[in-house]
C-alpha cells in the first residue's frame, strides 16, 4: 500500500448526501477479478450519459457535461469534498479502489459509512470527517475560487486551507500509523501469530463444535 504523509492537491466536489457505493462504482464493474482499473468507471452512472459496460473504452463514451468531475477546472483533483454519510451501502472495496485509481488520495466529508471508512485505509485513501459547518465552508471556498487546493498532513492531523487556516481532524492511532508507513496489515497481524494460536486452542476447548465441522 502507498504511504500517506502529506498530500496537497486540487479539490473536487461530490455535492450530495448519502453517496452510496453503487453510485461510486456500479455493480457491473464488480465482475472484474482484478484490483485495478476501476478509475475510468468511478461515478460511472452520473459521469457518462450511457450505461457503462466492463471492459469498454471510456474515451468514446458520451460524458455528462453537468457532472463536476467532468469540468475542466476539477481535472487532476486528488481531494474529494463530500457531504454526510459518504460511502454508505455495500462493503465493496471496489469503491476505494475506484477513487484511488482515479487519483483521489483523500476524501473529506461530514461523515462516512463504517465499512467504507475502514476500506479506505487499506488502500492508501485517507477519509477525513470534519464538522458539517466546516465542510459547508470548504464547499463555499472551493466553489468561489477556481484551482482551490488543500494540503492534508496526516502526521500532524491537519487540513490546511489556502489562507493558511489549519483544521484538525481525528483518526485512530493504529490506522494512522499503518497509513503513514504504508504497512501491510496482514504482516503486522502475523507478528501476533502466537497469541492467535493460543487463543484458538483455548476457544477450541471451550467451543469444540465450532471446529472441524466444514470439511
Amino acid at each position: 500500500m502507498r504511504a500517506f504523509t502529506v498530500v496537497s492537491g486540487l479539490v473536487a466536489p461530490m455535492d450530495r448526501a448519502n453517496v452510496d457505493t453503487d453510485l461510486i462504482i456500479p455493480k457491473q464493474f464488480l465482475k472484474s477479478i482484478k484490483r485495478s482499473g476501476f478509475g475510468p468507471n468511478l461515478f460511472d452512472e452520473i459521469r457518462y450519459l450511457d450505461e457503462g459496460q466492463p471492459g469498454q473504452d471510456c474515451a468514446d463514451r458520451p460524458i455528462n457535461e453537468e457532472f463536476p468531475l467532468n469540468f475542466p477546472r476539477y481535472k487532476g483533483a486528488s481531494i474529494l469534498l463530500a457531504r454526510e454519510n459518504f460511502g454508505c451501502g455495500s462493503s465493496r472495496e471496489h469503491a476505494p479502489w475506484a477513487l484511488e485509481d482515479y487519483g483521489f488520495r483523500c476524501v473529506i466529508a461530514s461523515s462516512f459509512a463504517d465499512i467504507f471508512y475502514n476500506n479506505c485505509f487499506k488502500n492508501g485513501v485517507l477519509p477525513i470527517a470534519l464538522e458539517e459547518s466546516v465542510v459547508a465552508r470548504l464547499f463555499d471556498e472551493m466553489y468561489a475560487s477556481e484551482g482551490y487546493e488543500l494540503t492534508v498532513d496526516l502526521q500532524r492531523q491537519r487540513v490546511i486551507t489556502p489562507s493558511g487556516e489549519e483544521l484538525s481532524f481525528e483518526v485512530d492511532e493504529f490506522r494512522r500509523h499503518c497509513l503513514l508507513e504504508g504497512l501491510d496489515d496482514i504482516g503486522l497481524t502475523l507478528q501476533s501469530a502466537e497469541a492467535i494460536r493460543s487463543y484458538e486452542q483455548g476457544w477450541r476447548e471451550q467451543s469444540p463444535w465450532l471446529f472441524d465441522v466444514i470439511k
Binding site: E84, C88, S91, D114, A195, W209
Partner: protein, 477 residues
Amino acid sequence: MTGKTLYDKLWQNHLVEQRDDGSALIYIDRQLIHEVTSPQAFDGLRLAGRKPWRRDANLAVPDHNVPTEQAERAGGVAAIADPISRLQVQTLDDNCDDFDLVKYDINDVRQGIVHVVGPEQGATLPGMTVVCGDSHTSTHGALGALAHGIGTSEVEHVLATQTLIQQKMKNLLVRIDGSLQNGVTAKDVALAVIGQIGTAGGTGYAIEFGGQVLRDMSMEGRMTVCNMSIEAGARMGMVAVDNTTLDYVEGRTYAPKGELWEMAVEAWRDLHSDEDAVFDAVVELRGEDIKPQVTWGTSPEMVLPVDGVLPDPANIDDATRKTAVTRALQYMGLEAGSSIGDIRPDRVFIGSCTNSRIEDLRSAAEVVKGKTVADSVKQALVVPGSGEVKKQAEEEGLDKIFIDAGMEWREPGCSMCLAMNADKLGAGEHCASTSNRNFEGRQGFGGRTHLVSPAMAAAAAVAGHFVDVRDWQEAGQ
C-alpha cells in the same frame, strides 16, 4: 460492575489481543465467501505465498452472478452466457480448489445466497463471529452471532490470520414492544426503524434488536430485520438467543449434535444482554404503530407507511435534505404530494437475502393464490434464496401458485437485487422489490426501486399499484 450487552459478550469471547492504540485483534469463527469480493483476496494470498489459516472456518458459494433461468443454469458454470460473470464464478471454483476450501457448486441443492445458506446449513451459529465480503452479513446476527460485512482486504486478512483488527463499536438497543398488526411483517419493522433513525442512524454502533415484537418473531423474520441493519448504518445487528433460536438451529447440517449440542446450548443460554446492561443509545418503537412500509425514493430512509403522501421539497427547510428529496423525486419520476397508492410497478421482484426464505415465499403465495398478476406488470419474478428453499417451496406447491398467477419461478441467487446477472430493470421502470436497497441504478440502469415486504410486493403485482395488504386481505381480494 454493570452488566454486559450481548455485543460486549460476543466481543469479549473473541478478543485475542487488546492493543494500547485502541485497536483489538478479534478471532473469526466463520468466513463465508462469494465470487464478487474474493478473487483479489485469493490473489493477495498467492502473491504473498500465504495459505488459509484454518480451512474449515470457510465456506464458499457463488450467488451474485449466477443465472436464475433454468435453461442457462442447467449447464453449470460453463453455460453462463455472460463471459465476465462466467469467469468470476469459475475463478471462485478455481480458488477454492487451489486453497482446498469447501464450496457449493452452482447446481448443488445447498447453493443459494450466502446469507440464506449460512443459517440454513448451520454454518453460522449462535455465539460465533461471522464475516463475509458483503455488507448484509449482518443477517447472521439474528442467531445471536457477531456478524458483519468486510472489504476484500479484510477477506484476505481473515483467510491469512483467522482474525480481524477491529475497534469496538458503541451499543444501540432498538426495542420494539407490543405486537405487530396482521399483514405487518419483519420487513416493515426494518424499514420503519430506518425511517425513524435514518441511514446513518446506526453508524458507529452495533445494534441489538429487542422487545416483545422480536421475541415473538420467527428466526426468518429476525434475519430480515438484522439483514437491514446496514441500511440503518450499523455494520451489525443482533438478537438475543432464546428457544426460537435453539429450535431453529437444532438438527442443521453443521450444528452440533448429541453431547456437543448440550454443551453448546449451555454456552448459548448466556447470549443475551444482562438485565443491568447499559446501552449508549436506545431507540423505541411500538409494534402496533408500524404499518406496511413502501420506499418512494433513492435511499432506504425515504420510506413511508402505505397510506403516506410523498414529501414536497417546498416544505423542507434544510438545504441538503431539500436537494436530496428534489433529486430523488426527479429520479423516481414521482410528483411531490402524490400518494404511495398511485405508484404502479412495472416489475415485481420477490427474492434477495432480505426476503427469499420459505416464510417469505409462503406469505407472498398466500396473497397471490388464485389471482393473476395485473396486465400492467411486465414481469413478476420469484427467486428463492437457496436450492433448499426452492425444494421446500415446490413440495408445498408454492411454485404452482406463483406460476398460475403469471409469475416466474426461478433458480436461486441474488438476481434482480443488484442485477449483476441478466435479471434487471429497464430505464425508468418501477419495481416493487423485497430486496434491501433502492439506490439509483441498483436494479438496473435508470431503474426505480420500491422496497416492500413479500406480501406487499405480491399484492402490488396483482393490483397493479401499491395497496395496503392489511385491508386488502380482510376484504378478501
